[in-house]
């Protein structure tokens, strides 16, 4: 050991123990330095707040028709103008945000739950259970489930509840695969074997010792899942089998506007920009979370 490796005695003591930082604090530090991700988070918070507060902040009743005021240009009264039925565009966008956000988040929660359960059962028990569940997952990925969703909402009605359910039921496959591979990776590790050897039940090992390790990847998949659910809902509403008029959804506003492209080309821009921006923001957020929660995965 050389002289230079030993710092001066006096300055050593205070800096000896670096401040303890939790995993979350490290992740937050990495995340904070990503400006696009911070901007995305800010946009999403703003969108979520305006969706929550829509009844309070909307300047007009979103469904109030006034035939004599259709296709008005933006004005002090109607900030973004009016649609083909003279309804206030801004108010409809705000109420549409409620649909998009709630469908996105709740559908993702359903898909997440199914995915975590299927993935952890398949990964932990292996063998026949694994083979069966993974064939099921493959089958779900191989069938054109967009068509099945389409049929379900077209013939069984497309209440928001139904939309959430079918989107959730068809979006668990990616999460199941991620969780399965995490579980397989972890189940051979000493702490799991130790827990098994003292007789901890399988359910408890999964819930307490294995799944928590997969949380970072699950958060990433969930964020990207919300983006997908928002896109899916707006696509279905655009096709006329999603949220029914007169209720506003960004998707059905877009499809209404297509009939008036020649006299009001502004109309399709607003809902489309909102869908695009929120999906983009969730995708950026997902990517940034991947980088900050798991630095090994970078690129």
């Amino acid at each position: 050991m050389t002289e230079s490796a030993l710092p001066a005695q006096g300055s050593l003591a205070p800096s000896r123990t670096p401040p303890r930082r939790s995993f979350a604090a490290f992740a937050w530090r990495r995340f904070r330095s990503n400006h696009i991700a911070m901007l995305s988070a800010a946009i999403l918070i703003a969108l979520a707040l305006s969706a929550l507060l829509a009844p309070v902040i909307a300047p007009h009743d979103p469904n109030k028709v006034s035939i004599f005021r259709s296709h008005e240009r933006p004005s002090a009264d109607h900030w973004l103008g009016t649609d083909e039925n003279g309804r206030d565009e801004l108010s409809r966008l705000l109420f549409g945000a409620r649909i998009s956000m709630s469908v996105g988040i709740v559908a993702m929660a359903i898909g997440l739950t199914i995915g975590v359960v299927i993935g952890s059962l398949a990964g932990y028990f292996g063998g026949f259970v694994d083979a069966f569940l993974m064939r099921l997952t493959d089958a779900m990925l191989a069938i054109p489930y967009f068509f099945l969703i389409l049929i379900v909402v077209a013939v069984y009605g497309s209440s928001v509840g139904n939309l959430i359910l079918v989107i959730g039921l068809s979006s668990w496959m990616a999460i199941a695969r991620i969780v399965r591979s995490e579980v397989i990776r972890l189940k051979g590790q000493e702490f799991v074997i130790a827990a098994e050897s003292i007789g901890v039940s399988s359910g408890r090992i999964l819930a307490r010792h294995i799944v928590p390790h997969a949380v970072p990847s699950i958060i990433v998949a969930a964020t990207l899942g919300i983006a997908n659910a928002i896109l899916l809902e707006s696509a279905l509403s655009y096709l006329g089998v999603g949220v029914r008029p007169p209720d506003a959804s960004w998707g059905n506003m877009l499809s209404n506007s297509q009939a008036y492209l020649w006299n009001n080309p502004l109309l399709p821009i607003y809902p489309g920009v909102l869908i695009f921006v929120s999906v983009l923001a969730f995708n950026f957020l997902g990517d940034a979370l991947r980088d900050s929660l798991d630095p090994h995965l970078k690129n």
């Binding site: 099945l148 389409l150 696509a235 499809s255 399709p268 995708n283």
Partner: protein, 315 residues
Amino acid sequence: MGAYALRRVIQAIVLLFVVSIVTFFLIHQAPGGPAMLANPDLTQEQVAEMSAELQLDDPIVVQYGRWLGHALRGDLGNSYNAIEPVTAVIADRLPNTVILAMASIAVSVLLGIPLGVVSALKRNSVLDRAVAGFCFMGTSVPVFWLGIMLIVLFSVRLDVLPSGGMSTIGEDFSIKDRLVHLILPTLVLAIGNLAELTRYTRSGMITILQEDYIRTARAKGLREVRVVLAHGLRNGLIPVVTVLGIMIPRAMGGAAITETVFSWPGIGRLAVESATSRDYPVVLGATLTVAFVTIVFTFLTDLLYGVLDPRVQVG
């Protein structure tokens, strides 16, 4: 290889059965029956008569058995709305979807692979970043909105491209007219796949260009073009085959949206229309056709994977 192929064929057949059962039960359990029976002009007796004629009063398992028996002999029944055999309706629409899907896949491949290669070679350059940004946008943009915006720009504002349809109504058939109508739908349908393919090609090439055999090829004095194309791209393309496998199903599924935006008379739009009007036989036929095409192409790419990469043990 033979045993593997056989097992996959059996799996594919089972999958088609499952799709047919799920679709059949979903559509036949729908409350209210076919939409045409909800016509308020029909009397009670007429509705009963029509239901009897369509044999909708039998137990659903019996109905499925009957449908399957006919389907296995290539008879998918008659469309309720068009009073035409379902096979004829599908044969009418499917080629249009195939044209659109093939054109969009061609665009994705012809643009995506070069863009991915160039990005990998010029890593972290301005071009690479621009391409990465474009890819990110391409996977997030709602395609129906992109379609509408392109219509606003090229049809409404500039008036250089048609806003929809396959050909100009009332005009004689001409290749040029068809191509002009194909441009916008092709671009819109291609965007997602193009973005994905570019990303895969880039990351595949970056991995390959760090391999020892690339260094060897350079060391023995091969020209860079030959190193990149003959040694790099050939191996870098292997993961790209996986993307091709998901591109076709996606083009078929995405067709429902793109075809609606551009009033393109394909099978995706047929599925939307028949689901909305509860034209049971057509819904089943369209869904099965799409499932069939999807499964066949997934199977083919899996086989191709084994052929291209000798390290992959298929089976």
